[in-house]
Amino acid sequence: MSDDALKTGATAIRKGYVRPLDIKHGRVDMAHGSGGRAMAQLIEELFARYLDNEYLAQGDDGALLPAPGAGRLVMATDSHVVSPLFFPGGDIGCLSVHGTINDVAMMGATPLWLSAAFILEEGFKLADLARIVRSMAEAAKAAGVPVVTGDTKVVERGKGDGVFITTTGVGLVPPGRELSGRQARPGDAILVSGTLGDHGMAIMAERESLGFESPIVSDTAALHGLIAAMRDSGADIHVLRDPTRGGLATTLNEIAKQSGVGMMLQEKALPINPAVAAACEFLGLDPLYVANEGKLVAICAERDAGKLLAAMRAHPLGAAAAIVGRVHEDGHHFVQMTTGFGGKRIVDWLSGEQLPRIC
């Protein structure tokens, strides 16, 4: 063996011994969750590489974070089990970042940090995992909210569904800001930031290979920028909520119950993408119950409704915002709607899962 070979031997052995992850052809195996070298490698070459930031780089079991200044901390957590993992407009990666950022932001907080826990199924393609992690990284970077700590577990083939991701977010609410589902008051205006049901219908169309003529794209997005713009308008906002699973109808029923009020919506005012409306019509579903991942509901003092609407419409994520109804006194906490047809109906809690009608 030559001297040169000896000199480079250590590196050569190391490189040969720890082969880089074969992202293109590799699959998740049980060793990736064992806590050993393979897991360390997965974290180093995939998660840490793409989600890189100074806190994650510390490599400890938790992230050591600077204590925020005055105000209160908000913590929210959300698990993501979406199928399919990739859909028009997004994937489980960016969704897991947006969903938790939005939960934190709806409390009136500035989102600061995220954690991410992955449950991976043995046999899952590393290429798909890398695509998901890259998407998370891009979403976190664009939102300015880093993933600072995480966890990885691997379950046997057949015991998972590819990838489950749980993200937890921490944010800071400045002193004096009070937002809660308990704050809706009779007379308040109800606003939505845009078209309803886009995410749920995009997922359903993709899952069932429905192949609609106009492709429906998920609205997944982080909304804290929009909320900042809304706050800057000076409007007296009482409630913010993202109408995710269960859609607008479920969200408003939750708020009506929490605040002890009733609500009256105007069907004609509800913004709905025509392609989504047509798809819902086709399947016998109601877009008011279909999930959104990049929309919010705002309830504000009536006098500020116009001002708030203008601020929302001036932001790209609120361009199709609309005032859709009013809060009123009602001991039964009914959410009702004046239909476009001129009648009245309840917009009830969703009962179980929305299922397509038979005929």
């Binding site: 004609k268 009648g343 109906r345 005929c359």
Partner: protein
């Protein structure tokens, strides 16, 4: 949504409502039954009742295929999935129908049954092709509208030579149910509402045409107006029924002429006749056993008949004693007249058939209209 929004135009509706108010004579009452769950849903969802004068009452009939599916049939499907290990597939809204032992297809799925939702019978055949090592059973329910696609699936499976596909056939017939409402032993038991006419089902008539309803118009002197499922269709049908009543006519009229004619779809009818034949008896949930009211698979297609392929005896299961579905399906009682409504029986925990599907009379009233009761 071209072709749809124009049938939901609020201004046209208020014009039509004014016309109905003008034509409905104040000295009399009008009771019309919308037979089909699709109409019940449209009336509730768009608040059509709010636009009608007080002396025009709509009565919800038994035309929801999920509502009239008896517990014993769902039990059979569950037994196929859990005991026979078949891959059972069916339409979405069958999954929640309560069965015996606190089960439903959805709960049986959670217990380990391979139960899948399909959007069409073609999906069911495709499942059989993709799973050659499993027996695939399509749990086929519905009125005349959903029957032709089931016939197509059976013929397709025959053409493909599939040995692992069969159908648990629970298709039922509309005219039998209407007959039962107008005359059956229960009419003597519960009495009957003075029905002045029927809003006839739209989709069913695209297949069978309007001719089968002529019998009811002539024999029972009940006007029938076939109507589409859009709210303006329903209102127009109500106006046409009021006119017939006022003029003392009892005819079959067709509001849904954009899709229905007198003879219906002959090709579909022939296909159904080729694959299916009448059953002598079939139990309907809430309406008991009705003679010649359902279809079974003809013997020449026996290999695709799940009832012949698997050991499936039929065990009828009675509804809850306090359940008023039988009277509600016939229009004798309203959902809110039932002691169980909204307390024990809710969409989350349906006890009776009318609460099962979103198109059932009780579910529609609970979901869209119960604010009127408080």
């Amino acid at each position: 949504m071209k072709y749809i929004d124009e049938f939901r135009d609020g201004e046209v509706a208020s014009g039509l409502a004014a016309a109905i108010r003008r034509e409905a004579r104040p000295e009399r009452r009008y009771h019309f039954m919308e037979f089909c769950g699709g109409h019940t849903h449209a009336i509730s969802r768009y608040g059509v009742s709010d636009l009608l004068p007080d002396n025009v009452r709509m009565i919800h009939g038994p035309g929801c295929p999920v509502c009239v599916l008896p517990i014993g049939r769902v039990d059979q499907a569950i037994r196929l999935a859990l005991e026979e290990g078949v891959l059972l597939c069916t339409y979405g809204d069958c999954l929640r129908v309560p069965a015996s032992d606190g089960l439903s297809l959805m709960k049986a799925k959670a217990k380990g049954g391979d139960i899948r939702m399909v959007y069409s019978t073609a999906d069911a055949v495709a499942l059989a092709e993709k799973n050659p090592d499993k027996q695939v059973v399509f749990f086929a329910i519905g009125f005349e509208t959903t029957t032709p696609p089931t016939a197509v699936a059976i013929k397709q499976a025959a053409a493909l030579g599939l040995k692992n596909f069969s159908v648990l056939c629970c298709h039922v017939l509309t005219p039998s149910a209407i007959s039962s409402i107008l005359e059956s032993p229960e009419v003597r038991q519960w009495g009957t509402v003075p029905l002045d006419g029927f809003v006839g089902p739209a989709h069913v008539s695209t297949i069978i045409g309007s001719r089968p309803y002529e019998f009811f118009a002539e024999e029972y002197r009940k006007p029938v107006v076939i109507a589409g499922f859009e709210p303006l269709d329903v209102m127009q049908a109500i106006r046409m029924l009021i006119r017939q009543v006022n003029e003392g006519r009892a005819e079959v009229e067709n509001e849904f002429s954009r899709a229905v004619d007198r003879d219906g779809n002959k090709k579909a009818q022939n296909l159904v006749a080729e694959v299916f034949e009448l059953r002598k008896h079939f139990e309907w949930r809430g309406l008991n056993v009705l003679p010649y009211s359902a279809l079974r698979i003809r013997s020449q297609f026996a290999e695709f008949d799940a009832e012949k392929r698997f050991p499936l005896d039929y065990r009828p299961v009675p509804d809850h004693q306090a359940c008023e579905c039988g009277a509600i399906l016939r229009g004798v009682k309203r959902p809110q007249d039932c002691k169980l409504f909204g307390s024990v029986c809710t969409p989350e925990n349906p006890i009776g058939s009318c609460m099962v599907s979103s198109e059932g009379a009780c579910a529609a009233h609970y979901t869209y209209g119960r604010y009127k009761d408080v």
